[in-house]
Symmetry: C2
Subunit: 592 residues, 2 copies
């Protein structure tokens, strides 16, 4: 609801906008936009996640989609100034759904517009006033209680009744998508390798604590309570996810591994071979969703001479607890988040620790990030009426293409504020950067998902020399006693930990479906920025995530808690529309 | 925050009120009240739960408490009209705490005032902006992770470290109190006989579903999510409680029975003997809280000739599932909620069912109750900004003494609306009443905790004769084949189910402490209304619940979810104050 009437010119703008859309007068409509305009659509117009950059791209999108979308009923719900820019929130309808959007203005014309699908008409979630009754009153000799219906669902789904969706991976991404689908009435099974929901967090290293604050991490439907810690410890997160799976009544198969999957295009069904508690099970879902983690399988780098090395080599994903390394000489290869955390954990356990840094890292102090970057995800924001759903929409309203300048400005502030910290860190020999274009942590996260560290303690240990750093010198080979570098130096080691990240999620497709399909689909994540690790062409959105891919009925879900939360809604709506047999014409122009 | 300024006369009233309190001018203060005035205080002035009725009682309370309470800083936070009565919400402070209250006015003077303690200064809950960080940033060789600290707490509490509070009974009442104490940092252990948290719900009869709606049933800290059903099925409730115990990190001992307890007044400690998984354990808590259910142990009535009866006799608490009684003749003795529910369950299972009604029952259709009685606990209320905490305070602002007239008016409406239903129900022979003073279900609940049924289906089966009723005729004796009544009739039976309620909670005190203490403390629950089952003298509050009793360091917690939620806060604050060694002078005048 509006606290006060919107500015007259904004009302007039929306009147024109709606009139031109209704008349399919695209020329007239484009007059309402600035020259360097952007239209980000999430499933409302395009049945895709797309940012159209500039008038020709917007024109092409509207020409292709207006007839089927039939947008209408635009209503301004709020107007506000954000960082000096006039912002209008609006609701609208399409032929099949209800949407919500944000438009931002520059001198009376629209520079960016976000349109999102929020619900499918006639298929709304049963929440609030329309929540289920929980019981059928009256007498009924065929009554099935909630317990009996739930038990029947668990027994039947995947046995006498096929799920519509199969989600591979029961971490946060799979769980949140599963919860959305459950609320939309789409039969889904989540399969998880581990013994319990939450184990993907529990199994990580002992000292792991979320680096993002609680206000950014909420799951849908059951938000974290007000006493929840700012930074959730890993096992507490595991417990939350485990309870969430139970309380949301998800069909969640633990101890289950996906072995192979093949798609029958004629039948429009997958055949997926699974091992459930070691027993083979075949499922025939219509849709297959990979939610196997923000990244893919562990990435090992090639270490010449590894066979000679007499110590132990492991990957960071296998590391849990430093106590067994007390007094040992441990070399950690890798200088991103896990590398830093593991070095601290080892140091705290009394190991002799060296970090091998192969390329520069973006480092930001946690406190600084909290003060400057999480303004819309904070207690203050909540008190100002910006709940997590509103914050998500505000964040989504800025197209990826416009984020680098804003991020660059943010990092100028950060570097000024923490100049002394950065000077001392560089003096230790540590290689610092803020991305090739000085845009910092968040853009690195979107582009490559790696190469950064939110400092919660490691940097001061590096500065003081408690954690030694060997930076920027290539590894020549392992020797029986350690690592020899290209500069002729050698670091003795009892243990080498490869904190070298994970492969792209599409490697899981290669493993479970086949290499051909994986190659056709291409890599996940990254924007096509042309920066290191994120080759072009430019996509303007995260590659392959949360939207149709080159392989029919194959989808990807993942990312941190915030991205999993936000996009699980739209991925669930895309799946629901297909489940209900709605027409879902995907607009997918050649890349820009 | 106030949407608009309070009416001038209300501002002036509060100015006078605060000035007279500060000056301890009780004569002047009483001028501000109507002749038939009420002051309900929950722990703020009296360290007790007390309603002072009339000016002499209020005068006596203020004379006794003002010096130690030092109330100040009265601030109006909202004014509103409720049912034609002007109502003002206010915050205030005492020497040790922060409070909240509601005053209602009649022609410029206050008729009822509620004062409640909401927090102890310097001991506020760590929520919202003051929530814990969850991790200590920086490097720390003595770091204990969250998991390690939590494991240590579980290992130490009750072993090397004594709990300050021991809560006997891990149902909803014990759990909510445990959660409040946890958030206040008071070491507490909850002991529960069953194998899992939530089993006290799971173990009840198959078709049990809460009769109160979700908006009335929230637990503190983690409210039910928006998709939660209106009426929670028993096993789903069990799952929620089980997750709640885990997520709130309660020290909850399952499979544990309290065997005996004795208080050492000199040492000010209890010695409690427990059996934990069959092994004896001794605890020495400072405070002992009975939370063994809204009522006490099952109540069996004396059935002459029971030894002759060749069928099965059981109590409703032992009944789970009707399926084993298919085709059998079952007589259910008792016509309150469980009696009705069990009759339906049996009928649905195909049993031949007769209900023996020994005294009249208050029946209200669930739909009618939802429409007319749960107005402040509803989706509409939530949308109007009345969350569960506000609703609780609104409900608490009406003293018990003033509830009968309002309830009588409500039941006049209900009886008019459902006149046809009631006519048909009485025509079946069923004995209907609305309490001795026509005040209906809620007053019966407060006075005796029994004698009513929220109709969710049984009544139509009674009307149609599918469930037979034998009403108002005393049982003479059991025969080998059934029940013979005083009117000479006999009903054959294979099974007799005593749905005859539970004993007062203070019987648990007799069992675990001793009869002398139980008798000194007296019965729990009931208002002393003088109505059947609730002997005088008039208390004006629920006897012994949530407040100091005649036995030092012995407390009672219980009631439905709503009462457990609301009063757990105030009981926890009373315990916290004692834990911190604050002065807690209990005002407890002789009964009125």
């Amino acid at each position: 609801m509006l606290d006060s009437a919107p500015p007259t010119d904004i009302s007039a703008w929306f009147d024109s906008f709606a009139r031109h859309l209704a008349a399919r007068d695209i020329d007239g409509l484009l007059e309402l936009f600035t020259e360097d305009c952007y239209w980000r659509d999430i499933v409302a117009f395009t049945w895709n996640v797309k940012t159209l950059e500039g008038k020709p791209a917007i024109r092409a999108m509207l020409e292709a989609t207006l007839v089927s979308t039939t947008p209408s009923a635009f209503t301004i719900t709020n107007t506000t100034q954000r960082s000096g820019v006039l912002e209008a929130w609006f609701d609208f309808e399409t032929g099949v759904g209800r949407g919500q959007g944000i438009a931002r203005f520059d001198d009376g014309r629209c520079r960016t517009i976000l349109t999102t699908l929020q619900a499918l008409k006639g298929h709304e979630e049963a929440i609030g006033a329309s929540r289920p009754l929980g019981v059928r009153h009256g007498a009924d000799r065929n009554r099935r209680t909630w317990t009996e219906r739930r038990a029947a669902e668990e027994a039947e789904l995947g046995s006498t009744r096929q799920p519509y969706c199969l989600i591979i991976g029961g971490g946060q991404g799979g769980i949140m998508l599963g919860a959305r689908l459950k609320q939309l009435g789409v039969p889904a099974i989540i399969v998880e390798r581990n013994a319990k929901a939450g184990d993907s967090w529990r199994n990580r290293y002992r000292s792991l604590v979320l680096h993002d604050p609680v206000w950014y991490d909420h799951l849908p439907y059951i938000p974290f309570p007000p006493h929840w810690p700012v930074f959730t410890p890993k096992d507490k997160m595991g417990d939350w996810l485990e309870s969430y799976v139970k309380l949301m009544e998800l069909n969640y198969w633990t101890g289950t591994e996906a072995v192979s999957a093949r798609y029958d295009a004629a039948e429009r069904r997958w055949t997926v071979e699974l091992l459930r508690d070691g027993e083979p099970v075949t499922l025939k879902p219509a849709q297959l969703i990979f939610a196997t983690g923000a990244y893919g399988p562990p990435r090992f780098i090639d270490l010449p001479g590894a066979g000679d090395f007499e110590g132990q080599i492991l990957h960071s994903s296998q590391y849990s607890d430093g106590s067994r390394y007390k007094g040992k000489r441990v070399v950690v290869i890798g200088a991103a988040s896990s590398g830093h955390d593991i070095c601290v954990d080892l140091w705290e356990a009394g190991a002799d620790v060296t970090m091998v840094q192969r390329s520069p890292t973006t480092v930001v102090r946690s406190e600084t990030l909290m003060d400057l970057a999480f303004d819309i995800y904070s207690e203050a924001a909540v008190e100002a009426g910006i709940d997590v759903d509103k914050a998500d929409l505000i964040a989504a309203a800025t197209p990826f293409a416009l984020q680098p300048p804003a991020q660059r400005a943010l990092y100028e502030k950060i570097r000024a504020r923490d100049a002394d910290f950065y000077r001392r860190l560089e003096a230790s020999g540590f290689l610092l950067d803020f991305g090739e274009d000085e845009t910092g942590l968040m853009m690195k996260a979107y582009r490559t998902g790696s190469g950064y560290y939110v400092d919660v303690g490691a940097s001061e240990l590096i500065i003081s020399g408690e954690i030694k750093v060997k930076a920027g010198v290539p590894i020549e080979r392992l020797t029986p006693a350690g690592i020899r570098f290209a500069d002729g130096t050698e670091i003795p080691a009892d243990v080498i930990i490869q904190s070298t990240g994970f492969q792209s999620m599409h490697e899981m497709v290669a493993k479970i479906v086949d290499r051909e399909t994986a190659d056709a689909v291409g890599p996940c994540w990254g924007l096509g920025s042309g920066m290191r690790g994120d080759p072009g062409p430019w996509h303007g959105e995260l590659r392959n995530m949360y939207k149709p891919t080159a392989q029919e009925a194959l989808w990807f879900q993942g990312g941190n808690l915030a991205l999993s939360r936000f996009f699980s809604k739209f991925l669930a709506l895309q799946l629901k529309a297909r489940y209900e047999g709605l027409d879902t014409p995907v607009y997918s122009p050649p890349l820009q």
